[in-house]
Symmetry: C2
Subunit: 363 residues, 2 copies
DNA sequence: CTGTTAGCGCGTTCAG
DNA sequence: CTGAACGCGCTAACAG
């Protein structure tokens, strides 16, 4: 009688006491029932579930978190949500997290290490149970500071040593090799590669994979065709223009991400060169938009959903060890998606091709 | 002594008691200081802040939420995160929310009303303080059920009546008129419009705005050039193909969203028609990718950041009435962004143009 | 197997 | 203006 459980509306979230009263059991039994503790008498459990149903009861997450110390909240840190790579990752992360009873908190760092710290700070204040750092590149000092926190963390490619940390390993080589072989089969022998910023581990790994795959098919790329880009459209345009200006152009280009590849497409379009007739182009990431470019872009796909799934499972293995077996390693594959930006190698020498393509299409 | 405040690590989040002890005040004073209650003696407040700083204390969000009934969590419901329209909206929402001391919970409905209910359900269980429903279209029955909840809600274009609900009104007309006028100035008189699904309020509003703007400049669109699309690339391709096949083609097309416009670009590319030489195309939304299409797409922009800002402020006005003045209405503008997909109207009759464009470019 | 009890960390009455 | 005490809704010991 002392505390009124219904507001003026007659509406009110019933609490655990209300359920207990209606089911004629103690609140402890209700709690156990909710949490699937197996030692509850089935008959009582039955009554409890019935009461819960009748009252429309749902447990108060806040209270639960406060007392148990576990919020069932997972943090997800990405570089930039407007980068088309990430939304699918987020979607996958959300799906798998919700499946496992977690809610997610997202933050973007915008490539700013300081902002990353703020993100993590905010997440810790919200008492997240674990954080996935999916930024593909993180400053070493920050990594070290993170390692101090006693909270499960999962990274891509690299992570600090520690029992609470997991790494998702991406097999860049597999898909990139498929790309190189695809080009080789089409008759390309002059293949260039525009990398990402080489201070990023992921960019380095992609370039290394390319070189290894080239070597495997007995091709040695010309140094002029091995350039560093910056993973942006503008970078792609500018680097591709340099390659074209260097006189001796390749017949195919692979890139470290799709934005760069789209830049390449733009640079080629400007000179009037035709894709895939004059040049073949292969991107990396296979962002959603790759299917919408002109022509649709052949690209090496790294499954964002798989990446996301791995990340959630890695965290879950730390948090709910009983649920999953806890794999020691988390691996993600890459594979080639062939669309229309790749075709048979042109047989003309590149000099002629360059001359003809002049501004041939603009009038 | 009874409760140990430090774990084995020596690390431990200090609690309010620790601060109170160090500052030689009571926990109540600490609480008041944190919450900026003005009745605290400045000297004491000083000591408290110092103690907080020394201990690196930060209040426990869970506990705070439990006792105050306010989580400082905002829900954001969108249609589909992989739809390029939404990421920027999310970014803006996050920024403004964080500025105002809120964290956000995001969910996508994937255009599934049932999923929307689940989303809201989950959010309510997490005790969000308010929800922004930014899906551009919501089933009427769901809207009604939402209206029962006593929680602030904000919608785009339409919303139920009620003191807790706000609507963000988008001025579709302004930008669309700019688009029509832009085309008119370029000499276009044969202008078509591909709408979105007409059961969506936002799609209807855009079409109405187009018709009104056309009327204003004294143009009457041919019924064949007024078609219903579905806001997808494929829809754009298919509808544009129909328009081209109908024999008498317009010289310019406006669309209800950018994906449709990109579909139009693809359809034109396939027939060999050139943009903007033969056709002008204007999109709507001005998604990020609009600047990366070939050619870059002229588009009517609706600022996602502004939309997001409005949404957060609308909720905040309900939640922290003292902070902002609480505007009665929330409005968002649209404006034209001119890029390279629009140009002077071609002077040739469309039949000749269609003939010439055959497959002229593929050999 | 069940019920009782003691907090989780904090905001918020009330006396002083 | 300050501090002691209570309780938010729930879980986890413990005693029965």
């Amino acid at each position: 009688m002392s505390r009124a459980k219904r507001n003026t509306n007659g509406q009110s979230r019933p609490d655990i006491h209300a359920v207990a009263r209606l089911a004629r059991v103690s609140i402890a039994t209700v709690s156990r029932t909710i949490n699937n503790i197996s030692t509850v008498d089935p008959r009582l459990a039955q009554r409890v579930w019935k009461a819960i149903d009748e009252l429309g009861y749902s447990p108060n997450t806040q209270a639960r978190a406060l007392v148990s110390g576990r919020s069932r909240l997972l943090g997800l840190i990405i570089s930039e949500i407007t980068n088309p790579f990430f939304p699918e990752l987020i979607q996958g992360f959300e799906d798998v997290a919700v499946e496992n009873g977690y809610e997610i908190l997202i933050s973007s760092t915008n490539y700013d290490p300081q902002r990353m710290e703020l993100c993590i700070q905010r997440m810790l204040e919200r008492k997240v149970d674990g954080v996935a750092v999916m930024t593909f590149g993180i400053e070493a000092p920050l990594l070290d500071r993170l390692a101090q926190r006693d909270i499960p963390l999962v990274f891509v490619d690299v992570s600090p040593k520690g029992p609470l940390f997991s790494t998702i390993e991406v097999d860049y080589f597999h898909g990139i090799r498929e790309g190189v072989q695809h080009l080789a089969v089409l008759g390309h022998r002059r293949i260039g590669f525009i990398s990402g910023p080489l201070h990023l581990h992921s960019a380095l790994a992609r370039k290394a994979a390319f070189l290894r795959a080239m070597d495997e098919v007995g091709l040695a790329p010309h140094p002029d065709w091995l350039r560093e880009g910056d993973h942006t459209l503008e970078g792609g345009i500018s680097v591709m223009s340099q390659i074209l200006a260097s006189g001796d152009a390749p017949t195919a280009i692979m890139t470290s991400n799709d934005m760069t590849a789209i830049g390449v497409l733009h640079a080629l379009y400007r000179t009037g060169a035709r894709v895939p007739d004059d040049f073949s182009v292969i991107g990396f990431d296979d962002i959603n938009f790759a299917q919408f470019t002109l022509p649709p872009l052949t690209s090496v796909q790294m499954s964002r959903r798989e990446l996301a799934r791995c990340a959630v499972l890695a965290l879950r293995d730390h948090l709910d060890p009983q649920v999953g077996p806890g794999r020691p390693r988390y691996k993600v594959q890459t594979r080639l998606t062939v669309r229309q930006s790749t075709g048979l190698a042109s047989q003309e020498p590149s000099s002629k091709r360059a001359a003809r393509s002049g501004r041939s299409r603009t009038k």
